[in-house]
């Protein structure tokens, strides 16, 4: 009997075979899908496509920023021997936790109020340490950014030996990720026909990076930011009356801001589930609702970000559903 040595099977995207989960991270040759929203968008003048970022390997658009920020730390020699600390509503932390573990280190995450339990459990499953942080943690000076302040103090305390922070709100690698991947993907996938791009205000890496890239290609493309109401329940999005504007936000690339309240966001999310078969998170509902408000005078192809999927929000959805979908006897 002869023995054979198994051949080495390297990553081959053509047959969707991967030697490492990180090989699934998106780029212009391996883009996340664009899917048309046909039923929920009432305006026939606008073709809305959603960019399904929840099909990234760690489940959200934040895979891009996390990968770029980690690469930046490693390139600058800042990661060596340190753990990572980041303030995150969950998605950045999930991607960072997975990739930190793969890089041989660990994540501590400061997580703000209003993040669903599902995300916290996923983070702990990935080996992260989760510090739930009230928004009004700082009793003297308290913009609604307690998690950010806590991450900063963890990184700086005791001489800063233990932690390095990726600091997604001020990290240009966050913008670079979208300038180099999300923006070029959208341009190529729409064959340069995109006329509107919609994304939420959050860390603002997406809107700044994609907006900058698309406007360089075609200055007339309208970049539309979606802002939630004050006291909202849309994790990942920020209202700038109650939260500090991130340093990486470039207002020069933002043409319009559309406000969306929770009711419209969740109602639209439910419609996306039922009418489009799109199992999205609530921020996607906010973005699609904003797209529906663009008006009749506009036309052409719009691309909206679908930052994450709905599976991480089932506890929230259970609340809004009440007894809907249960037998009424």
């Amino acid at each position: 009997m002869t023995t054979t040595t198994p051949s080495t099977l390297n990553t081959d995207r053509g047959v969707r075979r991967y030697g490492d989960i990180r090989d699934l991270l998106p780029d212009v040759d391996n883009p996340t899908p664009l899917v048309r929203v046909r039923r929920v968008m009432p305006d026939p003048g606008i073709s809305l496509f959603l960019k399904l970022e929840w099909l990234n390997p760690f489940g959200s658009i934040k895979d891009r920023a996390a990968a770029a920020m980690l690469a930046g730390l490693e390139e600058r020699g800042e990661l060596a021997g340190k753990e990572i600390v980041e303030a995150s509503s969950g998605n950045t932390a999930i991607a960072l936790a997975a990739m930190a573990a793969l890089a041989g280190t660990r994540l501590t995450v400061t997580i703000p109020d209003g993040v669903p339990e599902e995300k916290k459990v996923l983070l702990r499953m990935l080996g992260a340490e989760v510090w739930e942080t009230p928004d009004d943690l700082c009793p003297v000076d308290h913009p609604k950014d307690g998690a950010i302040a806590l991450a900063r103090s963890l990184a700086a305390s005791a001489g800063g030996e233990r932690f390095v922070t990726t600091n997604q709100y001020e990290n240009e690698d966050n913008v670079r990720a979208h300038y180099e991947t999300t923006g070029p993907e959208i341009w190529r996938q729409t064959e340069g026909e995109v006329r509107y791009f919609l994304a939420g205000f959050g860390t603002c890496g997406t809107i700044t990076g994609v907006g900058r890239y698309l406007k360089e290609r075609e200055p007339s493309i309208r970049i539309i930011a979606v802002e939630p109401q004050r006291g909202h329940r849309l994790p990942g999005l920020k209202n700038f009356q109650e939260a500090k504007q991130p340093a990486i936000l470039d207002w020069d690339v933002v043409d319009h801001v559309i406000g969306v309240d929770d009711d419209d966001a969740y109602t639209t999310t439910k419609r996306l589930f039922r009418e489009e078969g799109l199992m999205v998170g609530p921020s996607t509902g906010a973005i699609v609702h904003a797209a529906s408000l663009l008006g009749d005078e506009h036309g052409g192809i719009a691309v909206g970000v679908s930052p994450d999927g709905g599976l991480k929000y089932t506890s929230y959805f259970a609340e809004i559903l009440g007894d809907e979908g249960l037998p009424q006897i």
């Binding site: 510090w131 942080t133 009004d136 943690l137 700082c138 009793p139 003297v140 307690g146 302040a149 806590l150 103090s153 963890l154 700086a156 305390s157 005791a158 001489g159």
Partner: protein, 88 residues
């Protein structure tokens, strides 16, 4: 804040928390966690080195309904005795 000298004979803390080297709001966060492990009326001894604690700890205590029984600014460090309230 009130800078009341503390003597060990006055109060026996139920727990002690050393936040030396930690910058605010980290001491605030850890203090809230430590108070969560105490019963109402029990006292936490807290040591800090961030001068911001002189404002933050009393403000946090008012917000939570706890009482700073005494606080001492030692220049490079601060020491507080915080009594847990009934509402926290």
């Amino acid at each position: 804040m009130t800078q009341t000298p503390i003597t060990q004979t006055e109060i026996t803390p139920a727990a002690s928390l050393d936040c030396s080297g930690l910058l605010c709001p980290l001491p605030v966060y850890k203090t809230a966690l430590a108070l969560g492990n105490l019963q109402p009326g029990e006292v936490l001894e807290l040591i800090t080195t961030d001068p911001g604690a002189l404002e933050d700890i009393p403000a946090m205590s008012r917000q939570r309904g706890d009482t700073v029984l005494a606080g001492e600014d030692r220049g490079s460090s601060q020491r507080f005795l915080i009594e847990k309230g009934t509402q926290t």
